[in-house]
Every structure is written in C-alpha cells, then in structure tokens.
Amino acid sequence: MAEPLEISGLVKTYRQPVLDYLDLVVSGGVFALLGPNGAGKTTLVSILTTLVRPDAGVARIGGVDVVRDPAGVRRLVAATGQETTIDDLLTGHENLVMLGRLLGLGARARARADELLEQVGLVAAAGRRVSTYSGGMRRRLDLAASFMTQPYVLFLDEPTTGLDPVSRRRVWDDVRTLASTGTTVFLTTQTLDEAEALADRIAVLRQGTIVADGTAAELTALVGGQRIDLLDADGRLVHSVETDGSAGSVERALAALAPHQRGLQVSLHSPTLDDAFVALTRDHEEVAA
C-alpha cells in the first residue's frame, strides 16, 4: 500500500535553491519537520498541498501525485497554516458550516460543526464573529476547520507561532485529540518543545535538504553522549570529557587535571534536543570557523 507521504528528489528554486533534491517518506503518526526560518518548510508544505508546483522531483500523498492530480490530492489533505484561513466576518459556527458544505457534507455540516466546536472548547464562542476571537481561539477554530471531514494527511505549518504558552498547550491537546483517529500529521515548527511534545518522528531541514531524521532520542544522540564538565569557581568550563556513565570515566577526567585544579566543580551534562538542533542547523562555515 502507498505511504501517506512519499517525496523524492524534490526541487524548488526561487532566486536560490529553497528545496534541494529533498527525499522523505512518512508512514503515519505525527511527523515533525524542524528547521530554522527560511529553511524551506513553508515552501514544502505549499507544494504538498498543491499551492505551488515543484521545479523537479515527485511528491505523492497516499500514492496520488501532487503535480499530476492536484484535485485528487485536495480530497486527501487539509492544511492549517501560520496565517489563519478563517473568515473574520462570520461566526465560528458559520465558518465551519460553510467549509463543511464546500466539502460536500450538506445538511450534516451543522451537526459536525457542533461536534468539533465541542472538541476544541469553543462552544461558548460559536455564535460570535471570529473578529472577536483571541489568537489561540482562531488557531483552534482553524484546526477544527481542517477536520470537518477527516483528512488523510493534515498539514500543520507552524500552528502555534505567536501564541502564549497556555494557548500553545491548548492547541497541542487539540491536535492530539483530533489526530488520534488515524490522520497522519505533518507538522512544521521551529521550536523543539513543539516537535518533542507532538511528534513520533522528527526530521531536521536545513538549506532545503533533510540533515537528520529520527526520534527525539536518536537526534539527541547524534551530538554525542553525556559529558563530564569541570568548572572553575566562576562557572567557566575548564575541561570536558565524554562519559558512558561508568566510574572509570570519572577517573579519566580527574587524571587530566593538574594537582592545583582539584578544587573545581563537577557537572554532568546531557545533550538536549536543543543542542542537536543548534549543531544540525548551524552553517558549515560557522562550524569550520
């Protein structure tokens, strides 16, 4: 059976290459594409949702080619972007009903809208115009809109950018609830906690190609294991050795020190996904420098 998402050799160039022979397969669950600003995340989502045509390469959603059969792809996907796609002059309920009718739900659109408003906690605001909603409420309504008919693949392009921490968690909860029924979620984000909170698998995009791909633990392991750091009285790093957690490694760390340095502080440092992200997205030139 075809995978929810298969991409091979995808190229898109504006003034310079944005996507550079990108290969990727997503087999279900929640997948996070992590990358700094300008890495090509939004361009990739635009191609996969048929908004932009690639210059070369192939992308398929559930086996349907995004270039050859965009109408077929539109039957399979839904997208919630950085900018909300909701109509300000209509109420929350009217927005969902209209989108449901466009999707072919007919008279069932109302019941489905009520159900979703309940799920994302917007029942009280359902009859108000969206122009009165907060940023978090708009995103949640936008998310609900993507589920009026359940999509096969849901694209979430930086769904919590610009939201306060409480609203972010609310959106995350809603993503988990709505996606738990089998929709494959393709999430792009530039924040690590979001990728860690939602995704089963994370890939890092840098300069138009995937530079790392795996679970959060696997990515973290890429930047090395735990280290023993020896710090002076002011907290400055004097010496650092890799450790496998054994007593022998502590001995090796101490052996490297001169006798007068025995007054140093010891700290055990575990690499975080942050470290991995910084290391993986740093430019080569910076690494060399």
């Binding site: 279900g28 669950g29 900018e83 209509l90 466009l102 999707l103 072919g104 359940q150 096969y152």
Partner: protein, 264 residues
C-alpha cells in the same frame, strides 16, 4: 494509532461541484455585505447625498429647470461604480489574509469564490440603485419610460455593474493590501464627471469634449437618459459593446491574476 486508508468512507464525499460552491460563496458574500453595516450604509448614502447635492446645490447653476431628469442617470452610474469598488477590498482580503489559501487546498474550484463576490456585489448595487431611483422619484424625477424601457435601462445598469465589478475583482487579486485595493476605487468616482452625466458636453472646453464623448461612461449615461426620459436616441449598442469589452478584458486579467496570486 492506525493510518486511514485513502479511500475510506470518511473521505469519499469530499468536495462539491462549481455550481454548488458558487452558491455557497454567493451566500457568504451576501452575508458579508449585510454584516458590513458601514459599507452598506455608505453604498446607499453616498449616491443619495450626491443626488441631493447636484439637484439642490449645483442644479440651479447648471440648468434652471428639469435638472433632476438630466442628472439621475449619471448618479445611478456613479453609485454603481462606487459600490463595485468594494469588491476589490473583499477579494483582496481573501487573497492576503489566508482564506484563499484554504480554498485552494480544498476539493473545489476555488475561483468560484470570485463568482460569490461578483454576484453579491451585483445584487447589492442593484438594491442601492433602486433606492436612488426611489429617492429621485420622491424629489421630482419624472421618467417617461415604458416598462420595456425600464427593463432595458436596468439591464444596462446591471451589465455595467457586472463589467466594472469584474475589473475590480482583478484589482483586488493583484493589489498588495486591502488599503491599496481600496485606493483604486477613486478612479471610477472621477470618470463620470468627465462625461455628460452632470453637465452637457457642449459646456466643456473643446479639447476635452472628444475624450468625454468617447469614454465608456458617456454612452451609458446617454443610453439610460434616453431610455428613461426619452432625450435623444439611446446609444445602447455602443454601451453594450463597451461593457462586453471591459468584461472580456477583466476576464482575461482575472485568469492571469488568479494564477499569479497562487505563488504568494
């Protein structure tokens, strides 16, 4: 968590045809028009105020008697142009604020959202036009038209509204912001002054007369005047040709602008 099969029942009925989606989008745009109280008030109040001003303030200086019969056709067309320009803002909001992004990823003909805006604008403008005519009759406008003339005149007004609405839908597609889209509306507010809408052409400088005579609004004003109050032979064919021409150009531009707006 198991992945859905692409053909499973929840997905089977996604999408509607272009006729249904046009209907849904027309409903949406009409709802917008009713919600936007200020816009609707302006669309009706501005032409009515203009009518009153021309009849009671300038009218005496321009033409001592019967000026109301002379000026009403022009005011009707100004009213149509003013109302149509709000389509540019509505279309631009969809393009720049994200709604279009969702429609384009949905299994529908997304261009039908434009049909919604254009048809809603046509209906709203015809409503404003009928209010203007009612006010005009109340202050002494005495048309001599037969029901058939009325039908022809209203038909011409409708075709004109359709043509410039389409043109403004294109402007909305390519403008950088709703504010910019709004700005272009002023062009259409000036065009009628350079025609026989408010003053007889013979009173203009000779150099200006040919321009005023051959711009699209002049035959329209004269047609409507001819049909409603029976002054001169209404140049209906020329008016229709202008409208058809504008509509054709607008259609080509809209197709181009719609493709272009996708990559933004």
């Amino acid at each position: 968590m198991t992945a859905l099969a692409p053909g499973s029942s929840t997905l089977a009925e996604r999408g509607v045809g272009p006729l249904r989606s046009s209907g849904i989008f027309i409903g949406r745009s009409l709802r917008h028009a009713l919600r936007d109280g200020e816009g609707l008030t302006m669309a009706v109040a501005l032409p009515v105020l203009m009518l009153l001003m021309f009849v009671y303030v300038f009218g005496g200086a321009i033409q001592a008697e019967g000026y109301v019969d002379f000026v009403v056709p022009g005011v009707i067309l100004v009213c149509a142009g003013f109302g149509a320009s709000s389509v540019a803002v509505a279309v631009n909001r969809d393009v720049t604020l994200g709604a279009m992004r969702r429609y384009r990823t949905m299994p529908i003909v997304s261009a039908t959202v434009l049909a919604g805006h254009i048809v809603a604008s046509l209906l709203r403008n015809l409503l404003a036009t009928s209010i203007v005519i009612a006010v005009a009759v109340a202050i002494g406008f005495r048309p001599t038209a037969t029901p058939l003339d009325w039908l022809a005149a209203l038909g011409l007004v409708a075709v004109w509204i359709l043509a410039i609405t389409a043109l403004f839908a294109f402007i909305g597609l390519v403008s950088s912001s709703p504010e910019a889209a709004n700005g272009y509306g002023f062009a259409l507010l000036f065009l009628p002054y350079l025609s026989s809408a408010f003053v007889p052409l013979e009173t203009m400088p000779e150099a200006l007369q040919p321009i005023a005579r051959h711009q699209p609004m002049n035959p329209l004003v004269e047609s409507i005047r001819g049909l409603l109050v029976g002054v001169g032979e209404p140049p209906v064919a020329i008016s229709l040709a202008w409208c058809a021409g504008i509509l054709a150009v607008a259609a080509v531009l809209i197709v181009w602008g719609f493709r272009r707006s996708r990559d933004r």
